[in-house]
């Protein structure tokens, strides 16, 4: 019974809307979004497939993002350093000593955002600082790593031994690679012993592997790894793993997403880098998510998104 299935999806979406989606998918909003799908009479029910996908959309609201930023600092930065300090000092439990040592390391650390100041990686630094009660001096812009001295680039903070690049999302890893080429190469030349890390909240396994093998980062860490099961139409997709739902078919769902995706972004019909994700955040939806979810490019084809992506405005078609 398609109607019952549709109602079940809507019921699930309503619960998510009421609880974790921060009110993003009200009934009218969902109906408007469903209006994008033309539902040709001879094709399987597109609305049903769209609802099926939406009901599995993973959204991280403001509170969750703040908690993740805490975890990023605590689990990927602070605890490993504390562990090192204790190891180097016969597993000491001397708290004042550990605190003093950690403070020294922190003083020799700078946190940076990935991307330009208007992008999400940098935007999140503000909350990262708030949640972890860090002083402003530990944060710098990428251009502040270096300074010029008599026609020569030198390190602005020679006492700094750790640089931690913070990002919200790593899909294909392309941005990290750019940083590696543009900044890390020179940084490593000037200070080969500096530890340069890339800490990201969410990352695909492919993106992480790519950064670990093809960049100069000493450490690449993430909080929430999106393995191949998160690829919507992949062979082991988690979204189509449960008991088959009447009227829902993975192949048809992919066909539909490709059809509309190609109209929205011909180069990336299933999301940038063919990531095929179903994920969104309080501050934005990554372009690695299926475009049918987020597409709202100015000048682009008319489309009502359900979780709007605030694009970087590179310009449509350029």
């Amino acid at each position: 019974m398609t109607q019952n299935v549709e109602q079940e999806f809507l019921a699930r979406i309503k619960v998510l809307h009421d609880t974790v989606w921060e009110g993003h998918a009200s009934g009218p909003a969902v109906q408007q979004w469903l209006g994008n799908f033309t539902c040709p009479p001879d094709a399987p029910d597109e609305r049903l497939h769209a609802l099926c996908l939406l009901s599995q959309f993973m959204y991280f609201g403001s509170r969750q993002m703040r908690v993740l930023l805490k975890a990023l600092y605590r689990d990927k930065y602070k605890y490993p350093i504390v562990e090192q300090i204790r190891r180097a000092n016969e597993d000491t439990l001397d708290v004042p000593f550990i605190q003093a040592q950690f403070q020294q390391t922190l003083d020799a650390t700078r946190f940076l955002g990935i991307g330009n100041p208007s992008e999400s990686g940098v935007h999140l630094l503000y909350y990262f600082r708030q949640e972890n009660q860090l002083r402003k001096k530990y944060f710098i812009n990428a251009h502040e790593i270096f300074s010029a001295e008599a026609d020569k680039r030198i390190l602005r903070f020679p006492q700094v031994t750790r640089y931690v690049f913070i990002d919200d999302f790593c899909g294909s890893g392309s941005q990290g690679k750019r940083y590696s080429t543009d900044i890390l190469a020179e940084l490593k030349k000037l200070s080969p012993t500096s530890i340069v890390s890339y800490h990201v909240l969410f990352a695909t396994s492919d993106g992480l592997n790519s950064l670990r093998s093809d960049t100069l980062f000493d450490a690449v860490e993430c909080i929430y790894e999106l393995d191949s099961t998160f690829k919507c139409f992949g062979s082991n997709s988690r979204y189509f793993k449960t008991t088959p739902v009447e009227g829902i078919n993975k192949t048809e769902a992919e066909k539909m997403c490709r059809k509309y995706g190609a109209q929205l972004d011909n180069a990336n019909p299933l999301g940038f880098g063919d990531c095929q994700l179903l994920i969104g955040f309080h501050h934005n939806t990554p372009n690695n998510t299926l475009p049918i979810i987020w597409f709202d490019e100015p000048g682009g084809p008319p489309w009502t998104p359900i979780f709007r992506r605030y694009s970087k405005y590179f310009g449509w078609g350029k």
């Binding site: 109607q3 309503k14 009934g27």
Partner: protein, 689 residues
């Protein structure tokens, strides 16, 4: 003034236990029978009473309404004098708050626990009585003058008193509380210390009856009052603890009486510690079954509508006085979108015409398949060629009225089931249909009777065949679904309201925009799921009951959506329970106690004149199996069928029993011997081809 907040769901709170005393008063609605709940409860009667009912039948609301804090709210000033008018003082105790599970095991004898629990309960009730009197008499000279004497008399009730001698009731209350705390500490530490160091300093029951007697003797204003112990959530007590309450009931002394509230399954015993005698209904106590009473009341709908309007009023959706509220009570159904009733259900079934503007309608597709199969198997009398099939389909068509087409097909299947010539039958039905359609006088004919009896089921079949959700619409439907359990009604409305808001509607604000059918359908589906989950018992019995109810629902659905349903609006069954297994009987009993099944008056079996037990599936569950809300036809189950549904050991027979029934009601075999099973496989094979 309450400001209207569109996000506040007026039906959010569905449990009286979550209400403050003031809210209990504000949300109170009396039953519109003469005398109302007061007459029903008889608070001044010395006869103890059990108030039983399913979850959400309103027991707690009712009992709290008769408790002292509510009496005080109603009376305002000069409470003792007003209590004199009431002639009772309600002392409310919720057994859930006793944490009664503590009073057992931990290497102590059962006798020890019985004694400690009785003492603990006596202390608790004593505090409630003393606290009530202190509050009622605050600032009254009558108490000031007598309290030293009262205290002394109360202390005389104790066998021993090691504490300081209190001279005021406040001090006495503190001492009683301190004694109770000592028991708490001893009980809570028993598992660790291995000892149960409790000194019981009052004989069982002495405080419970003695304190009210002393107060009565010394405080003239309440001399004529009954001290009414309202003991709620009785089901939370163990058998031996219930035995103690039963003993208090049996040994009751004036001026005390008891009202004990509990779920139907909650009474574990009526035995007492008085020589193990059992309390008898009518002799030691009387019983009211709240939901059965509400269900049977002809004015339950009015009560329910007032309940809804009171909620809306408290949340600012209705402004004005009682008159304004009564106006809304009368028009409450207008706030819910329903399908207008038209001749031959034209509007109600317009979705068929819209969806199948072109192409064959699904029920004709199915009929065509059935006749063709029947022809191949030699089971379709009078059909020998494809032309015959076409002619039948043309005869049964009535394009503008899909419901009449369904009636035609239903009658056709009846004829087929009777092995009549199908071509001739189709022609006769077509004539009957045209006569009925153009008849100016409403005459009872076979055709009109079929429509009258099966209309609801045939519309349900149409909805299903056209992939539309079943319609559970309108306030009267929801009230009927609640079957005397007001909480179920509130749960339904809570979900419907939430869905309406989610869909961007503003329920109960603009009389011209009623709550949409879609919001109602979604809300009903959600509430039905909630009910099934909430009613679910824990443990092995819970699973057995749940599985049985699922099987029963499946059976009813099979009947409703059959080609020739044996019963109309089938949501009830009857069976001679004396001939089923003990386990099946037990599960039926448990399901009834948990309100999953509702006992209906016994039924005389058509064939044998035997009186059978009859039960209805709780209509809250109807949406789970697309069943009717209203009770009409009754499925007569054989003992074997009943066992297959309710006895897990016999559940392997269920599929066979269901298939046998299905086969009798469906084309082309209609139960033809030898065709049922062997040809079924063939039909499946043909279907797959």
């Amino acid at each position: 003034m309450i400001m209207l907040n569109p996000h506040t769901n007026p039906f959010n709170i569905t449990k009286a236990v979550d209400f403050s005393d003031q809210e209990i008063q504000d949300y109170w609605i009396d039953i519109p029978e003469s005398g109302g709940f007061l007459q029903l409860m008889k608070p001044t009667s010395p006869m103890p009473m059990f108030i039983l009912g399913g979850k959400g039948s309103g027991k707690t609301h009712l009992m709290r309404y008769f408790s002292y804090p509510l009496q005080k709210i109603r009376h305002g000033n000069d409470v003792p004098e007003k209590l004199k008018d009431d002639r009772y003082v309600g002392v409310y105790l919720r057994c859930g708050g006793l944490n009664s599970g503590r009073f057992k095991e931990k290497s102590q004898s059962e006798e020890a626990w019985e004694g400690v629990f009785a003492y603990y309960m006596d202390l608790w009730l004593s505090q409630l009585v003393v606290g009530t009197v202190i509050d009622a008499y605050r600032g009254c000279a009558e108490l000031e003058l007598n309290q030293e004497k009262v205290c002394k008399s109360i202390l005389d009730l104790f066998n021993t008193w090691d504490e300081e001698l209190p001279t005021s009731l406040e001090k006495l209350l503190e001492e009683l509380s301190s004694l109770q705390k000592h028991v708490d500490v001893a009980v809570n530490n028993c598992a660790i210390s291995g000892e149960l160091k409790v000194k019981i300093s009052a004989t069982r029951g002495r405080l419970v009856f003695g304190i009210p007697q002393i107060l009565s003797e010394n405080l003239p204003a309440i001399r004529e009052c009954v001290f009414l112990y309202l003991i709620d959530e009785f089901e939370n007590l163990s058998e031996s603890q219930q035995k103690y309450v039963n003993t208090l009931i049996r040994e009751k002394e004036m001026p005390c009486s008891f009202k004990v509230g509990g779920r139907m399954y909650g009474i574990k015993t009526h035995r007492t510690y008085s020589a193990d005698e059992e309390n008898k209904e009518g002799s030691e106590f009387e019983t009211i079954r709240l939901d059965a009473l509400l269900r049977a009341s002809k004015r339950y709908h009015l009560f329910a509508k007032r309940l809804i309007v009171r909620r809306l009023s408290e949340h600012g959706y209705v402004t004005g006085d009682v008159k304004a509220q009564e106006v809304m009570v009368k028009s409450i159904s207008d706030w819910f979108a329903t399908i207008p009733q038209e001749p031959f259900a034209k509007g109600e079934t317009s979705f068929v015409i819209e969806k199948y503007a072109e192409g064959e309608r699904p029920y004709f597709q199915s009929l065509r398949r059935n006749i063709e199969k029947g022809r191949e198997l030699g089971l379709a009398p009078g059909v020998s060629s494809p032309e015959d099939v076409e002619a039948i389909l043309v005869s049964l068509a009535c394009t503008d009225y899909p419901l009449l087409e369904k009636v035609n097909i239903f009658l056709f299947y009846k004829e087929w089931s009777d092995r009549n010539n199908l071509r001739e039958a189709a022609e006769t039905i077509a004539r009957d249909c045209q006569q009925f359609l153009h008849s100016k006088v409403a005459r009872k004919t076979r055709y009109s009777r079929a429509l009258e009896h099966f209309k609801v089921d045939l519309v349900a079949q149409l909805l299903r065949e056209c992939d539309k959700p079943q319609r559970y619409l309108g306030i009267d439907t929801f009230i009927d679904m609640s079957v005397g359990l007001p909480r179920n009604l509130l749960i339904l409305l809570k979900s419907i309201f939430a869905w309406a808001v989610y869909k961007g509607e503003t329920p109960f604000t603009d009389p011209h925009t009623p709550i949409s059918a879609k919001a109602q359908q979604a809300g009903v589906a959600e509430a039905a799921d909630w009910f099934f989950g909430d009613a679910r018992m824990l443990g092995a019995s819970g699973r057995l009951v749940e599985d049985s109810i699922k099987r029963l629902g499946t059976m009813f659905r099979t009947v409703r959506f059959a080609d020739k349903p044996s019963e109309c609006s089938c949501t009830s069954f009857s069976c001679d329970l004396s001939r089923v297994t003990d386990e099946a009987r037990r599960i039926v009993d448990v399901a009834q106690k948990w309100s999953l099944l509702i006992a209906v008056s016994d039924r005389r079996d058509r064939g044998s004149e035997r009186i059978d037990d009859q039960f209805q599936l709780n209509p809250m569950l109807a949406p789970r199996w697309d069943l009717a809300v209203y009770r009409r036809g009754v499925l007569s189950l054989t003992p074997d069928e009943c066992n297959a549904v309710f006895d897990e050991a016999k559940q392997s027979d269920f599929d066979r029993a269901l298939k046998a029934r299905e086969s009798r009601m469906n084309a082309p075999s209609f139960g033809t011997k030898g065709v049922d099973d062997s040809h079924r496989d063939l039909f499946v094979a043909l279907e797959n081809d």
